[in-house]
Amino acid sequence: MGKTLAEKILSHHAGHDVKSGEFAMVKVDFTYAHDGTAPLTVQQMEAMGIQKLNNPSQCAVFLDHAAPSPRLEHSNDHQSLRNFCRRTGAILFDIGEGVSHNIVSEKFARPGDLILGADSHTCTLGALAAFSTGMGSTDIAAAMAFGHTWMRVPESFGVFLRGAFPSGVYSKDLILHFIGEIGADGATYKALEFIGPALENLSVAARATISNMAIECGAKAGLFPSDALTRLFLREHGREHDYRELEPDADARYERKFQFDLSRLEPTVACPHFVDQVKPISQVERVNVAQVLIGTCTNGRLEDLHIAARFLKGRRVSPETRLIVTLSSKKVYLEALADGTLQTFLEAGGVLIGPGCGPCVGVHQGILADGEVCVGTQNRNFEGRMGNPKSFIYLSSPATAAATAIAGRLTDPREFL
């Protein structure tokens, strides 16, 4: 019987063959935490009596969640994290560098790697054929200290993709549709493995949006095989030498199988207050929208900004609506600056926020007022997620978000094509 991608990667890191359902001690290639979770990691490491990291060059701390700091409590946490990095040699990405997952994908993640992060959306790196998953601060402390962790090898779901997206439809619509179908706990403990001919049309950026949201149906990982597009991405980021060919065996055993024809999808949104409250846009009331958010680790890559800018070019954001754009990394910021994308956002009436999580997690930079509706490209719409439990969040693609910003109410992007 062949191996799934998850079994292949975890076997390699266990040093012996492992199958789904088995527990194994696995070597970890890269471990990271951010200003939301790292303070507890540091505290727990101290409580464990650990002074040294197993390999500091494989550990990183990102200041992205509340960056620059809006309150003295965050400032003090940032200070102690900077000191931790100085003391241990862990790599520090200070404010303005961008969101952890995006930077790890640009600089570190390699096909076949095992990567852990103290953040649920660590699964993003599955887009590069790395097995990556989120854990809590204490598990991350142990992984940084010892360079390995224990893991249960997950069963995999095979998601077979064929066809190409119709215009106005993107990978965000696909993953929202999938989560709506399977439910917020439909893949708990499982690895999703995306396969099929449609992968040829899905860039690493488009894949990353899908992998990023694997956790929203409970999955432990959202994996893509590596291919020519993976190699292209690595080349564009100056590290083609990190490329390695990796795919599931043709006779891999999948616990469940799904099939999607991308050409049959339409723009899709998740309605308040759960990510699996999914509807095609044609079936959603055209609510008035106070704020639109474009960016975050889900949809803040250059490709996403280009999609949104295409709609906003030469148009203006509705006077009833605020448009906030947050860039996922400094690299993306510089590229979008150089090619005029940022100017498009500004001329359309948008507000730019430096690289980081921005208003996604409700600590700063765009907290909603009572009763306000936000349409955003992020990955979560839980009650209170953006800092106010009396507000409402819809999740969409960058195209739907841009069309909504122009119209001032939830709008099908195909109306502007």
Binding site: T37, R71, H74, S120, G134, M135, G136, T138, V361, P389
Partner: protein
Amino acid sequence: MKIKGKVWKFGHGITTDHIAPGRFFYLRSNLPEFAKHCFEDVRPDFISKVKPGDFVVGGENFGFGSSREHAPIMIKLCGIGAVLAKSYARIFFRNAINSGLPALILDTDQINDGDELEIDLGTGTLKNITTGREMTAPPLPPVMQAIIHEGGLVEHIKKHGRLKLD
């Protein structure tokens, strides 16, 4: 070890944002203060009325969403003796065990808000004193059993000097 207490029943869809609201995340390095906002938006009276040894009882997929380990630690700081749910989100479950907070998998439809329970954490058996019903939770995988019996992952590492799988 047997523990006894009253049930705080929550429905489906409890996220770590409900347990540890993001807007108070600036308190994350002051967990006793952060814990005063535990479940604030779902059950405003929880924090003023919860008693040591009480139980938090959820439905499906308890604790999904953000990986914040502050959530199970805050529940523990409120004095909760164990969490019971039909199923858990993966990260929350692992975090709960690492924090030394027992998390049992049980058919919680049979448990009502305010019920008195007695739970034997060694055997996973539950006696509902209010209804007379008895249930048993499936055992944890051995590695998690070891961690929870040692009082959490920090204690585990202090004891063994490393991660020990068997």
